[in-house]
């Protein structure tokens, strides 16, 4: 799994109950905004994420509607596994702080 994907999973797991939208998630993951959607769609296709469009009036809110994403139970489990697997393979060798090694 690529580092950006792991960073996205980590951002979700940092606060699993929080619903996030694309830009917010990209910032949380430390990714370049605009690069995150292929990752989100791939995870959603795999059943790891669910997404929905918020039900607000754009004119009242003064902004377009956002699409929110949250981990499914399967996704949370898979995310834990993926991060643990990554930590096993790389963490001790290059990254004693526990953050992702590239």
């Amino acid at each position: 799994m690529t580092t950006p994907r792991l960073l996205v999973l980590r951002a979700f797991l940092d606060d699993p109950t929080r619903e996030r939208y694309g830009l917010d998630l990209a910032n949380a993951a430390g990714l370049e905004p605009g690069t995150i959607y292929p990752i989100l769609v791939a995870f959603e296709n795999a059943g790891w994420l669910r997404s929905w469009q918020e039900q607000v009036d754009p004119h009242l809110e003064g902004r377009p509607r956002r699409r929110y994403y949250a981990l499914t139970a399967e996704g949370a489990s898979a995310a834990h596994d993926a991060l643990a697997d990554n930590a096993r393979r790389r963490g001790r060798r290059a990254n004693p702080t526990g953050t992702l090694a590239w």
Partner: protein, 277 residues
């Protein structure tokens, strides 16, 4: 509203942003366009409220860069509902960093070893002694003790550095295809398709390079090297997930590439003429 699918207000966006979003959307499967345009519109509106135009341009560039990946996953979702999150073999940032580093590194190193070094240190002494200063007679290009492929690679790298652009593009193609073929989990059909596309483009560029090399008609002064340097600079300055050491290395290679182009086109022109002649 840009389109009926934008699902919201886009009044914060500029005309060019709307045009680009519409253009990006056309690259996506039809069922997915409205959803993704709404995502981009919402993000750009957020960035617009933060009032940093450069961030919006960066966002659009990043969106354009990831468009092939997005198209792939969106299309797969429509066709058969993939059950895996493994990436299709598309260029990743790390792959691009490798391609740029190898291409720039080869070009700059070749230029140093085949041109700048001999011209600075060996040619004056030879001229003073009345000895032939043809680059083909000097180290490393003319040293028979070195393996022929290495000598050829170095000499061609020097040609790429002085503006034999198709050669540099061909090398970028070959290296990119090599990395794409290395990606695991691909179907053989996808690998063959990648190989065929890369071979076609690479051979076209090599043919152009061969014509240039003998006709010396299309030397550009380093356009391809400059573009590669710009890409390296972009990677060095961006937040695409590259670690610091990579960004530093790419930044140094970019500076070296720009230096080669500047030298070749200014006070180093005599050296270029010496090498080409």
């Amino acid at each position: 509203m840009v389109t009926a699918g934008l699902a919201g207000r886009t009044g914060d966006l500029t005309g060019i942003e709307r045009v680009l979003m519409a253009a990006f959307g056309t690259a996506l499967p039809a069922h997915f366009r409205a959803r993704q345009r709404a995502e981009w519109a919402a993000d750009l509106a957020d960035l617009a409220r933060e009032g940093r135009p450069t961030d919006r341009w960066r966002y659009l560039l990043a969106a354009a860069w990831t468009l092939p990946s997005l198209r792939a996953v969106a299309r797969r979702a429509q066709v058969d509902g993939p059950r895996s999150v493994s990436s299709p073999a598309l260029p990743t940032t790390r792959m691009l960093a490798w391609v740029v580093a190898i291409s720039l590194g080869w070009t700059v190193l070749s230029w140093l070893l085949v041109m700048a070094g001999p011209y600075t240190f060996e040619v004056p002494a030879r001229q003073a002694a009345g000895i032939d200063s043809d680059p083909k007679t000097m180290w490393p290009g003319g040293d028979p003790s070195l393996p022929l492929p290495l000598r050829v690679a170095l000499v061609l790298g020097a040609y790429a550095a002085i503006g034999l652009d198709p050669l540099l593009v061909a090398v970028v193609c070959v290296v990119t295809v090599g990395f794409l073929l290395r990606s695991r989990g691909q179907a053989w059909r996808d690998r063959l398709r990648t190989l065929a596309r890369g071979a076609f483009l690479g051979l076209m560029m090599l043919a152009l390079a061969a014509v240039d090399l003998f006709a010396l008609t299309m030397f550009t002064g380093g356009v391809a090297l400059s573009v590669t340097g710009i890409v390296a600079t972009g990677l060095a300055m961006s937040r695409f997930g590259l670690p610091r050491r990579w960004r530093v290395a790419l930044g140094l290679l970019a500076v070296a590439g720009f230096a080669v182009v500047i030298i070749d086109n200014t006070f180093g022109w005599a050296m270029v003429v010496w090498f080409r002649d």
